[in-house]
Amino acid sequence: MSYQGKFRVWRGDDSGGALEDFTVEVNEGEVVLDIIHRLQATQAPDLAVRWNCKAGKCGSCSAEINGRPRLLCMTRMSVFQESETITVTPMRTFPIIRDLVTDVSFNYTKAREVPSFAPPKDLAPGEYRMQQVDVERSQEFRKCIECFLCQNTCHVVRDHEENKEAFSGPRFLMRVAELEMHPLDTADRVDQAQDDHGLGYCNITKCCSEVCPEHIHITDNALIPMKERVADRKYDPVVWLGNKLFRRS
């Protein structure tokens, strides 16, 4: 069954823009990205949209649909009413390039600021040995497809451009947690998380976890455990004393 669906799509660039109305054919089984492609093919050939895999794996097609941060290729048209007007806008938190395409380089900058994996110095590549239970925890975070929807939704930077300097965002705090929990990483990531990546800005309101298309428990499994480690290090005199007395680390 196909029908004529009503859409509002944001068009413009960094000098300004607005929502434009379109009526586009919708067929059974389609996702929002299909509609955007049909719109491009039939009515707006210069509409800019970024996509690659159409399978929810490349993380390119992030946008906001009816105000909710989502992947265009993973949002089925069947979740909407036929009478509904569907609004498609670019991610708000990043600078606009054109139409639905934003400049996500903030994320690449933050990624580069996380010091890379630091195995023990005397261990040659190929000699890494670790137990499955030890790597398991950080493996959950490897499911990330770098769609940056979490970065886009996090109110710390979404609502406060000025915090971009100090705050790396959930995706990269999760990267810090991944390395911190890795059995062979020797770097000290706890102070870094708080001092260099702004973990204290996160108020654990869980919007990152809510929008993650990979359903990673970013807040529960990465951010809160990191906050607990920071508390061990900086805010817990008993643990601090124990570490001093027994030289644990």
Binding site: D134, H155, C202, I204, Y235, D236
Partner: protein, 254 residues
């Protein structure tokens, strides 16, 4: 380069304001009830069946009914309108206020920071938990220790009430401490202390097992937070109704 020019605070079309509103009203009603019962200073102990409401436990001052003070009366009677629960409430309240789940709940519902995902918050500046006073949220584990002790006291109360037989009140007290125990065990700090802080689970199989079990509970932390909070109030209400003679306890044995 600028962001896309979109004036609307949010383009969400669902009822995004409903969950924060529900949370706010729920927390408000419970606070009012708890404040009322705290300052009422009465109907917390059923002498006949040894039911003590968790809100007055332990009852540590000299104005407590002597039989309700299972652990002795350490302090003189409090002056004026002050009541015995005021000595324990700072710890219980502190535990809930610094809880990672409740933080999410009231940051969203009471402070609108953010009210819901992808809905702009009304504040012009935001520093999160980086400075005083919110940096004190990092003390959560100390409240966890205190609340665990109080939980043991509640368990003692619930178990010792069985000495008089078995009534509906006993079952209620038992369910109450089970929910409180589940909530306390599912705490993120507890998960961290039990095993979460380890880098090598393989070297600590027992702690790894504990961490695994607590993680399962931790997945339900929000549900347990609400269930235990509401049930504490219901337990207290039941004890108050029996203690005041409004209803009589349903007895199964004795």
């Amino acid at each position: 380069m600028a962001r896309a020019e979109i004036a609307a605070r949010t383009l969400r079309t669902d009822r995004w304001w409903l969950p924060p509103l529900t949370t706010f009203v729920g927390l408000l009603l419970i606070s009012i009830y708890a404040a009322f019962r705290t300052f009422q200073g009465d109907y917390y102990w059923v002498d006949q069946y040894h039911y003590l409401t968790p809100m007055y436990s332990p009852c540590l001052t000299e104005e407590c009914v002597p039989a309700a003070s299972h652990f002795g009366q350490w302090f003189p009677a409090l002056p004026g309108f002050l009541t015995p629960p005021l000595l324990i409430i700072p710890f219980l309240l502190g535990f809930r206020i610094t809880c990672y789940y409740y933080r999410k709940a009231y940051y969203r519902a009471a402070w609108a920071s953010p009210p819901a995902c992808a809905v702009a918050e009304p504040h012009s500046k935001y520093t999160g938990e980086t400075r005083f006073p919110l940096i004190a949220q990092n003390l959560h584990r100390y409240f966890f220790y205190a609340a665990s002790l109080l939980l043991l006291v509640n368990i003692y109360d619930a178990v010792s009430a069985f000495s008089t037989g078995l009534g509906l009140g006993n079952i209620i007290l038992l369910v109450n401490v089970s929910l409180l125990a589940a909530y306390t065990l599912s705490c993120h700090s507890c998960r961290h202390i039990a095993g979460g802080r380890l880098k090598h689970f393989s070297k600590h199989p027992v702690r790894y097992w504990m961490w695994t079990q607590i993680s399962k509970l931790n997945n339900r932390h929000m549900q347990l937070a609400w269930a235990s909070l509401i049930f504490v109030c219901l337990t207290d209400l039941y004890v108050a109704l029996v203690a005041s003679g409004t209803i009589s306890d349903l007895r199964f044995i004795n």
